[in-house]
Amino acid sequence: MTYLDHAATTPMVPEALAAMTAELGRVGNPSSLHGSGRAARRVVEESRETIAAALGCRPGEVVFTGGGTDADNVALKGLYWARHREDPARRRILISAVEHHAVLDPAAWLAQQQGAVLEVLPVDSLGRLRPETLRAAIEADPASVALISVMWANNEVGTVQPIAELAAVAREFEIPLHSDAVQAIGALPVDFAASGVSAMSLTGHKLGGPLGIGALVLARGTVPVPLLHGGGQERDVHSGTLDTPSIAGFAAAVEAAVRNLDAHAATLHALRSELVAGVLAAVPDARYNGDPDDRLPGIAHFSFAGCEGDSLLMLLDARGIECSTGSACSAGVARPSHVLIAMGHDEASARSSLRFSLGHSSTESDVAQLLEALPPVVERARRAGEIAAARHNRS
């Protein structure tokens, strides 16, 4: 089996596994006042400090959540409600056109159900939101902007956003900017304080930690209305008994990811260069998508003209090679990626795409396996596409 889908989820690193399993057998609610509770609380708070140190924020700015989707929803809905409550004129939500559904969908929901006005800002052909685009959108009516959300790095094509510049624009107008950094942590240097963003999402399972745990980092003074009401944990922003074992594993993974960042990124970069060169040599008309330079080191994304991404995926899967057409969709019905459409691809091109993503367990042999399997697979998928096109023209 050749696993080339680390952007979907990546295996846990040994540090995280050890930290998590050490806690799994222990009892103690971190909110309890007795000894067991205090012991659990200590693990949670030390984890929070570890994460804060790794990300350049204060421990008090880290709010644990059930993962990236959870963090994004708290940021979008919670900050929209808070800002709108402060000033009902604030109705506009500005997001980039390449956001993950965990941002796109809560924003669309706020527009449909809560009277927000959603503005999806266009990106260039590399998938980048230009700071001047953001500025122009704000300047149309600065007082009406409730919040801005722009991801740190894209999960499909890997393009990195000019986040510090975007944050500087937002700051000028004193509008909070949230950034989904789920794919960035552990792959790029991320310093929360230096970046100037007001809120940032991350998740454990994309960086070698456990599934179902993540965090929303909230700069001081950025206080969302909670989605979950209950015991008042996490500064009232995210009620619910804290998951001590997952938090311990998450912190260990964040710490390891940031500590190993340079070496890890260099390894991935080298492997990816090999993969990209190999794919372009084997399939000369393949189109390499995203920013060629300013991108996540582990993601390579291609369009294969004349092929259905679905067919490629299936044929590769049958040969033991696991990759993705972009972001996993629970219903399983492939829709052309909104990210590629936003980058200017037509529907057919958007449907013809595959993402190969590398991670800490990837090897040269993974790349070699892919390069061996790919040419006949592309040829087959292309033939299947031609048959379908011929039928379409007949009917």
Partner: protein, 354 residues
């Protein structure tokens, strides 16, 4: 063989796939997403996200790869739009047949072959028999479930690439087998007749698309008997739901004898006036070499009808069928499927009665 199993999420396609795996084939499951805006909350009809989940669960139990293929647009054009257009033209289409002809054993089969599969497996109740001149399509052993009629549109090549593992079983066996195999869909109710009209209100479905087209009911002499809101909503042989207004003078039930969308007239009359001696049909499809001249066989003119003896003549435009005895309820747009015993010879679309 490398086999692509179409898995609807129902019990039949689940057991069909399980049997194909057991027969030693290398299986891949696909669920065909045919509804453009699936309504998961209603949970009715087919191709809902719930059906896709059920199909996926079965594939997991069988330990085979599983994918969802989005054929919604093609289904809308080839099956739904065609269904509406046929009614609008005064004919009575059979959408299941059309789906087999243009989706399952065309779009899906083509793509499967292109991707390197050898056959498409479905949960249809029909039998495939290797005969002297190639693969033959036969009726299923369960007369209540037999679906050879809606497969009658397949040509020899399509039949050669089909796999119907259920043709030799009755439905109760299939359900019991699903339960014994631990398939979670064992108790799932049977699917509806027309999957894209889950509430069964075909008249309402058509009216929403074709609008009101008021017209008259007339008798065979042309006398106006009442008003209707669109001739397209009626089918030759129909008795229920006519609401003619004036009762028949002799008090006997009246049937639709003819639907004319050109002048929007629906002709009604007594049951015996439904009797026809024969029909002409076009778009012939043969499951084997095309016959020439005139030959004797049995002809079935609707999904749940009986096959009756007839003399069939192949003509350039299609077929002429002369029934041995008069037949009632022959509706243009339906298929005339030709049988030799249990074997399907071919089919054509009924154009007119004579």
């Amino acid at each position: 063989m490398r086999v692509l199993a179409a898995m609807s999420g129902g019990v039949d396609s689940a057991v069909a796939a399980a049997r194909a795996v057991e027969a030693g084939h290398e299986l891949t499951g696909v669920h065909l997403a045919l509804a453009e805006a699936p309504d998961s909350l209603k949970g009715k009809g087919c191709c809902t996200p719930e059906d896709a989940r059920d199909a996926r669960r079965v594939a997991d139990v069988l330990d085979i790869p599983f994918y969802v293929w989005d054929l919604a647009e093609q289904f809308r054009v080839d099956v739904i739009d065609n269904f509406v257009a046929e009614y609008a033209a005064g004919r009575t289409p059979n959408p299941c047949l059309r789906c087999n002809e243009s989706i399952k054993f065309a779009a899906v089969l083509d793509r499967a072959i292109g991707l390197g599969f050898d056959a498409v497996c479905t949960g249809h109740y029909a039998r495939l028999v290797d005969g002297p001149s190639g693969r033959e399509l036969h009726r299923a052993v369960d007369p209540d479930k037999d679906q050879s009629y809606v497969l009658g549109v397949l040509d020899a090549d399509q039949v050669a690439h089909a796999l119907f593992p259920l043709g030799g079983s009755v439905k109760t066996e299939v359900r019991a087998e699903a339960a014994a195999r631990g398939l979670t869909v064992a108790a799932k109710p049977d699917s509806h007749d027309i999957c894209f009209i889950p509430d069964g209100d075909t008249a309402g479905f058509l009216q929403a698309r074709l609008g009101e087209r008021p017209g008259s009911f007339v008798d065979t002499s042309g006398a106006v008997l009442g008003a209707h809101s669109g001739a397209y909503g009626f089918t030759v042989g129909q008795r229920r739901g006519l609401r003619i207004g004036t009762p028949a003078p002799d008090g006997r039930p009246r049937y639709v004898l003819d639907v004319s969308v050109v002048d929007n007239r629906v002709t009604v009359g007594p049951a015996e006036a439904l009797e026809v001696a024969g029909l002409t049909a076009d778009r012939p499809r043969w499951c084997g070499p095309a016959p020439a001249g005139t030959f004797e066989c049995r002809v079935q003119v609707r999904a749940h009808g009986e096959a009756v003896p007839a003399a069939v003549t192949a003509i350039p435009e299609g077929l002429q069928v002369a029934f041995s005895e008069p037949v009632r309820g022959v509706a243009p747009g339906q298929a005339a499927v030709l049988y030799d015993g249990t074997r399907v010879l071919g089919s054509a679309t009924i154009a007119a009665t004579v």
